[in-house]
């Protein structure tokens, strides 16, 4: 193991390390801790200039209650859910199919189709912006959740297919060959042989895509406006305009907006990290 395991180092360094850990963590998360403290402060603390001190009273329920019952925040949150969940399902489904085709079959254009997905996934959003916005307008889907979902599915399919194809490549190919010898139809091989083995990949991708889409801001601004269909990342700016300079409420709102992916990460940590680091090890 590198660096040298702490147990094998002098006692003095062990103690230093143990005390360094929490200090480093607090420094690393300092901006976030400040916001968390802001979000439980009463408004009066800000008018009196008590920014960094302890809250003069503990207003957790008041501040977060305001966010939940006195703003458009719940609506934005619901929009985010209604945009994120269908996108996850759609992108994972499409990429399971495409990944299977590219991972199992050997045909001439295989690598080119694969590279098309990979390259498309790296493209800057801006080169798509004008045409996609136009397309969405033409289909009458501008400012709808459907319009956003359809685009997200299409774009995420690039990354998901890359992921699925590499995962399927690593599966034992003999299983497919054995099934073929048995005379099983190809779609049945997909459904009964490959899909059950892909469960970890499906879980990992779902968590990742959930986070990516929940956190999307650019497309939300380009394809939607107003609380009927905007997700929370875009909604938070109008929320902040509503509570201008009310730092306690803006902080509470931001924390609420960030919460779902954070929960997802802590609950599904294993899958999340497995997804992000696929390919980081040979």
């Amino acid at each position: 193991m590198f660096p040298t395991p702490i147990e094998k180092t002098p006692r003095s360094w062990q103690l230093t390390y143990q005390s360094l850990l929490p200090v480093a963590l607090i420094m690393w998360l300092l901006p976030l801790i400040a916001v968390a403290v802001f979000s439980v402060k009463p408004a009066v603390d800000f008018t009196q200039g008590n920014y960094w001190g302890l809250p003069s009273s503990f207003e957790l329920f008041n501040n977060y209650g305001q966010v939940f019952f006195n703003s458009d925040m719940p609506r934005y949150m619901l929009n985010s859910v209604l945009i994120t969940v269908p996108t996850v399902i759609g992108a994972v489904a499409l990429s399971c199919l495409a990944g299977f085709a590219l991972g199992i079959y050997k045909f001439k254009s295989n690598i080119w189709v694969f590279f098309m997905f990979v390259a498309g996934n790296f493209v800057p959003f801006q080169i798509l912006m004008v045409p996609v916005r136009d397309l969405t307008l033409d289909m009458g889907l501008y400012n709808t959740k459907t319009g956003l979902v359809l685009f997200h599915i299409a774009f995420q399919t690039g990354f998901c297919t890359l992921f699925m194809r590499n995962f399927i490549r690593a599966l034992p190919y003999e299983l497919v060959e054995a099934a073929r010898v048995e005379g099983i139809a190809e779609w049945k091989i997909f459904w009964y042989v490959v899909i059950p083995l892909m469960k970890p990949a499906i879980a990992a991708l779902s968590v990742l895509i959930f986070t990516f889409i929940w956190n999307d801001y650019f497309w939300a601004v380009v394809l939607t406006q107003g609380p009927e269909s905007q997700p929370v990342t875009a909604g938070i700016t109008s929320f902040n305009a509503q509570f201008r300079a009310a730092y306690h409420l803006m902080s509470a709102g931001s924390i609420v907006a960030a919460l779902p992916p954070v929960l997802m990460f802590f609950l599904m940590q294993k899958h999340f990290i497995a997804g992000l680091t696929l390919g980081a090890v040979k």
Partner: protein, 308 residues
């Protein structure tokens, strides 16, 4: 999928066309939905954007063909020049996330109690949306109320108005972007360090390799796959920077924090007028920059595929 053979016949010679060509046709049936979606929403729009960049178009009325005029105008556009320089700053400084991530990964690669929680909490900023990161940092930087100036005040420095200062603002935003990006690189390296061959380390120790030499000659070469991914995601992240700029400064002060992706958006879709053609031209420039990297990524993936 509904590509099941219609009737599984018992007599062999009566096999249908599908059955005979099953292996050749099936992959395309499986690929069809993904390719259709992707072509419609990603591939075709790239072509369209390039085409639009030769037109003068407000998004509603008639588009007028102007040839290279948009690109010629770019040459003299000082805002474009500023954006391009800022993109370069982003690219170079964002790469600091890679050594930064490696450093934190080395720091955390221990087995003391509670280390798993430490690792998760260090990784945590990556899960936040860039919008929230932008808000958090813009409050952190606030000239009077911000924590940064609070801390600087304790050591007798400041106050500084990071985001209000045209020369400092871009660096302030990049610092905010480095926070989640470093966390991502850290997790890649933690995974990579887990897979480092312990025997090579032992062999290195026997040969007297320690500290920096061990890191440079034995550990880093084994971390190559992690470094490659860290490099890819960092470059892409740097060129995609939009959210943070939009949230933290909205391009200001005096347009000094614009990058190509933001400037394009501003030109094409903001109150300054819907100049779709000009915006598309900026997007094409950004795309061409990205294409250099995409080509390199594909090339390294391809040589790896061949090596298998």
């Amino acid at each position: 999928m509904t590509d099941a053979p219609a009737v599984p016949s018992t007599a062999l010679p009566a096999r249908g066309w599908y059955k005979r060509n099953e292996i050749a046709v099936t992959p395309w049936l499986f690929l069809a939905p993904a390719i259709l979606f992707f072509a419609f929403y990603v591939i075709w729009p790239i072509y369209q954007s390039i085409a639009i960049s030769f037109y003068d178009w407000d998004g509603l009325g008639e588009a007028r063909y102007v040839g290279m005029a948009n690109y010629v105008e770019l040459m003299d556009d000082s805002a474009f020049e500023v954006s391009l320089w800022n993109n370069l700053k982003w690219l170079l400084l964002y790469l600091l996330a890679i050594p930064g991530g490696l450093f934190i990964a080395l720091f955390l690669n221990q087995t003391v109690t509670g280390i798993r929680i430490y690792k998760s909490l260090f990784f945590f900023p990556f899960v936040l949306s860039q919008v929230v990161v932008g808000l958090v940092f813009s409050w952190f930087y606030l000239p009077n109320e911000g924590l940064l100036n609070g801390v600087l005040g304790l050591v007798g420095l400041g106050p500084v108005n990071v985001l209000g200062d045209p020369t400092m603002a871009t660096y302030g935003i990049i610092a905010a972007g480095l926070w989640p990006q470093t966390a991502y690189c850290m997790i890649l390296y933690l995974t990579g360090l887990n897979a480092v061959d312990p025997e090579q380390i032992e062999a290195g120790r026997l040969d007297g390799a320690k500290g920096w030499r061990m890191l440079w000659y034995i550990i880093i070469p084994q971390l190559r796959p992690a470094t490659f991914i860290a490099f890819v995601v960092t470059i892409i992240g740097a060129l995609r920077s939009f959210d943070l700029i939009s949230i933290m400064t909205n391009g200001g002060p005096f347009g000094q924090t614009r990058v190509l992706s933001f400037y394009m958006f501003e030109k094409a879709l903001s109150e300054y007028g819907f100049r779709m053609g000009y915006g598309a031209a900026i997007a094409v420039v950004l795309f061409l920059i990205m294409l250099v990297f995409i080509a390199y990524f594909l090339w390294s993936m391809w040589s790896e595929e061949k090596g298998r």
